[in-house]
Amino acid sequence: MNAVLILIALVTVGTAIAAMAGRNLLHSVLLLALAWTGVAAFYLWAGAEFAAFAQVLVYVGAISMVVLFAVLLTRRSRDEAAPGPAGQSRALSAVMAAAAVAGVLVGAILRSPLAASPGPAPAVTVRQLGAELMGPYAAALLAVGVLLTVALIGAVVLAAGDRTGQPEDNP
């Protein structure tokens, strides 16, 4: 099964790099949708069926849509024309910083004695998940619900702008 895992990792990281480096914003978003699907594939591989489908539903089905919508709404903005020298040096330093972070992380991971427990994937049914969510995690669930509601309202308020304040000029 490791070959599958390596394939998933390669596809995910590859699409993510292509998305982050790409010139075309829309291609980036679509490639990222692919990367998110790769992450979902990893969840599926690991046996977390529910999380995988939720990932696809939320990321590919909703978030990428909203992002695409935002891209279309802002498509005429005057940027992304040509990164100036400042942009290039910034990109270079950003990549270097990220590479440093990656180096630290990988080094740390490789040095740590992380032995995988050889057992099979822990089986978790939807019913179990539901029971957990309603039992020990009920408070967290409520908090997330409140957070989502607040975020929704906030997003609407932010995006709607101040249309009401405008004068009604009848031609």
């Binding site: 982050m20 990222l32 998110w36 992450v39 690991a46 910083a97 995988a116 994937a121 969510l133 929704l152």
Partner: protein, 103 residues
């Protein structure tokens, strides 16, 4: 290299890619997407430890991921609303130009 280590490295690389994107790009939407990628990398860790780590409560990792996804959805919604608001005021979504708090 154990599978757990491989998964963690996978997640670490994904995190770095997201970080690089978030730092390097000036387009607000792409920065947001880089952050999304970093969050995903974190979620990968949850699942990896849930799968290979020492046995804990059976559903903990998955539940964390589910919460994380929900929070990410909220974050994206607010973030994109901000991007649109910035676009409305500045006619641009370059973060360098979004320097004023008041439109």
């Amino acid at each position: 290299m154990s599978p757990l280590q491989f998964c963690l490295i996978f997640s670490g690389v994904l995190f770095s890619v997201g970080l690089a994107g978030a730092l390097a790009r000036s387009n607000a939407i792409l920065v947001l997407l880089g952050i999304e990628l970093m969050l995903n990398a974190a979620n990968l860790n949850f699942i990896a430890f849930w799968r290979y780590g020492p046995a804990s409560a059976p559903a903990t990792g998955v539940i964390f991921v589910i919460f994380s996804i929900a929070v990410t959805a909220a974050e994206t919604a607010v973030g994109l609303a901000l991007v649109i608001a910035i676009h409305r005021h500045q006619r641009s979504i370059r973060l360098q130009e979004a320097t004023r708090l008041k439109g």
